[in-house]
């Protein structure tokens, strides 16, 4: 009974699949499909069309979330403005070489603060994985100092 009640509250096109829900089927025009072919090789961890779609959707969601967070909307528990800012910063950082080459940074008036290091075409870590800060090197020494130096 509870499930029926829940279903009534959900918009059309929403279907439960295991622990996740399938939210709307996407119809992809040919032009977008061509764009998708460009980015797909850069998402090797997505081993299916739905996994790929989810990752792309997630990127869009993060950017949109940052847009509305900037307007001051209330964020759900467990999500803070700091977290959203850091998520979207990773996306933007990857866009910087293009923005710079096309002069868009200057157009936005932020060229002066753009550092040369940002232009390096280095491979960035996965955006969300980079939220994990590396273990501070001083911590290992502190453990050794307390006698925890011997891995047996």
């Amino acid at each position: 009974m509870a499930r029926n009640t829940h279903d009534r509250d959900e918009p059309r096109g929403v279907r439960r699949v295991g622990a996740r829900r399938l939210i709307a089927g996407l119809r992809i025009p040919a032009r977008d499909e061509a764009l998708l072919d460009v980015v797909r090789p850069f998402l090797p961890e997505a081993d299916s069309a739905s996994a790929c779609a989810y990752r792309l959707w997630r990127r869009g969601l993060e950017v949109t979330l940052a847009e509305v967070a900037g307007l001051g909307v209330a964020l759900p528990p467990g999500t803070t403005e700091d977290i959203v800012a850091r998520l979207v910063a990773q996306r933007l950082q990857l866009c910087l070489p293009l923005l710079r080459r096309t002069g868009t940074l200057a157009l936005l008036g932020i060229a002066a603060t753009y550092r040369a290091a940002d232009a390096q075409p280095e491979v960035a870590p996965a955006p969300t994985a980079s939220l994990v800060e590396p273990i501070d090197p001083s911590a290992a020494d502190a453990i050794s100092g307390l006698g925890g130096s011997d891995f047996l």
Binding site: R58, T128, E133, I135, L146, G148, S149, D150, F151
Partner: protein
């Protein structure tokens, strides 16, 4: 109920206390695994105290989509150090473990069926007891299970909180003094735990039988007080979050009352054992003539202290008055020891250990009249964290050490 503690913001202790105070699972942006050589293994922490085994482990948040971010959830357990060979039960089944041809119960199940206390004392004596080793293996199974790991094969990096007195000063090959593990403890851990494979069958009343294969890839022994120091002074990614240069830890454990003074730079550690832990209160209860026939050993006495009930003629009987009397007589002596250590210290003082829960009313009374200020001069680690703190701290210590290996 876990209170929020006056500790450095962002410290491991702060984050866990806040989560538990809100009745939530503590979550951290760290990986639950560590790299040991070419293998990625689950980090597991065990604080095998004289009264109870405490364990801590992290597991990737299952709510996170695959490949999206890192968020690990903390799971902890506490299992009284009681052990009994399993018997055939007609009716509701107890959680039963089978390992090396032996079926046994631990913790509450063992206590409910007249189980024995396991050996107290130094690591070497305790690990020589086969029951103790099986008890630890079963504890790891239960810990992984509580965290949500599925049955099957798991390779782990095991960190063990050992008594501070088993950490000694030795000179390395360059003649530099450093704190390290006592050689006999090291040999014992290497013999009994390193490379150990526990194959444990677990059954209970509701579930299908489960088979767990736990492989210990490596063992990192740490002083139990290191757990408190790490949790209090470091963030989950190891950054220092406190400006204190040293710390005196008063650990009121089941077996021992330990006092450890730690200076961070240069690293120094001084240990004292002013006396027994809460076992002195438990033994007072055990020798109470009215309870002598229903409390048969130390672990039963420790449990009776915590629960304030005993089973007599198949009835649960309240012994609150007897516990209060025992705490009043022996507990006041312990509080006096704690107070002397607090007053005497020029360092920040952390008062921790499972005994805090028992002595809390007495401690709160006397600390309220102390000139030293809570949060500034000392910290009383209260609530469930008091007994789990060392296990949680050494878990992060293992991750820090593995990252810097």
């Amino acid at each position: 109920m876990q209170p929020i503690l006056p500790v450095p913001a962002g410290s491991i202790l702060d984050l866990v206390a806040r989560a538990w105070a809100a009745d939530q699972i503590a979550a951290f942006s760290v990986h639950p695994t560590v790299r040991i050589g070419s293998a990625t293994v689950v980090a597991v922490a065990i604080d095998n105290g004289n009264d109870a085994l405490k364990g801590a482990v992290l597991r990737r948040d299952p709510a996170l989509p695959d490949g999206e971010g890192v968020r690990s959830l903390l799971a902890t357990i506490r299992v009284p150090t009681a052990f009994a060979l399993a018997q055939t039960i007609q009716g509701r089944q107890e959680v039963t473990y089978s390992c090396d041809g032996m079926s046994f119960w631990t913790g509450e199940a063992a206590l409910a069926h007249g189980g024995d206390a396991l050996r107290l004392g130094p690591t070497i004596q305790r690990l020589d007891d086969e029951r103790q080793r099986s008890f630890i293996g079963a504890g790891i199974v239960e810990l992984l299970r509580v965290a949500g790991y599925p049955p099957g094969e798991h390779q782990i990096a095991l960190t063990l909180a050992v008594p501070n007195t088993e950490i000694v000063i030795e000179r390395d090959e360059k003649g530099v003094e450093q704190l390290t593990l006592d050689v006999r403890t090291r040999e014992s851990l290497a013999r009994h735990l390193k490379g150990r494979i526990w194959t444990i069958a677990r059954t209970d009343d509701a579930q299908q039988p489960e088979t767990w294969a736990i492989k210990v890839a490596t063992v990192l022994p740490q002083a139990q007080t290191a757990g408190t120091v790490v949790a209090l002074t470091r963030s989950p990614n190891g950054k220092a979050v406190s400006d204190i240069a040293g710390l005196r830890v008063i650990d009121i454990g089941g077996g021992d009352l330990h006092v450890t003074e730690v200076v961070f730079s240069p690293a120094q550690m001084i240990n004292r054992r002013p006396g027994d832990g809460t076992i002195r209160i438990a033994r007072a209860l055990r020798t109470d003539r009215a309870l002598a026939s229903v409390i048969r050993n130390d672990v039963e006495a420790q449990q009776a202290l915590v629960r304030q009930t005993v089973m007599r003629a198949s009835r649960s009987v309240s012994i609150t008055a007897e516990v209060q009397q025992a705490v009043a007589s022996k507990g006041n002596a312990m509080v006096a020891d704690v107070l002397a250590e607090l007053r005497d210290s020029t360092h920040f003082v952390a008062i921790t250990g499972g005994g805090v829960l028992l002595l809390r009313p007495l401690l709160a009374d006397v600390l309220a009249h102390e000139a030293k200020e809570p949060g500034h001069d000392y910290l009383l680690v209260d609530g469930p964290l008091a007994s789990h703190l060392n296990a949680i701290g050494v878990l992060f210590g293992l991750m820090f050490r593995a990252a810097g290996k």
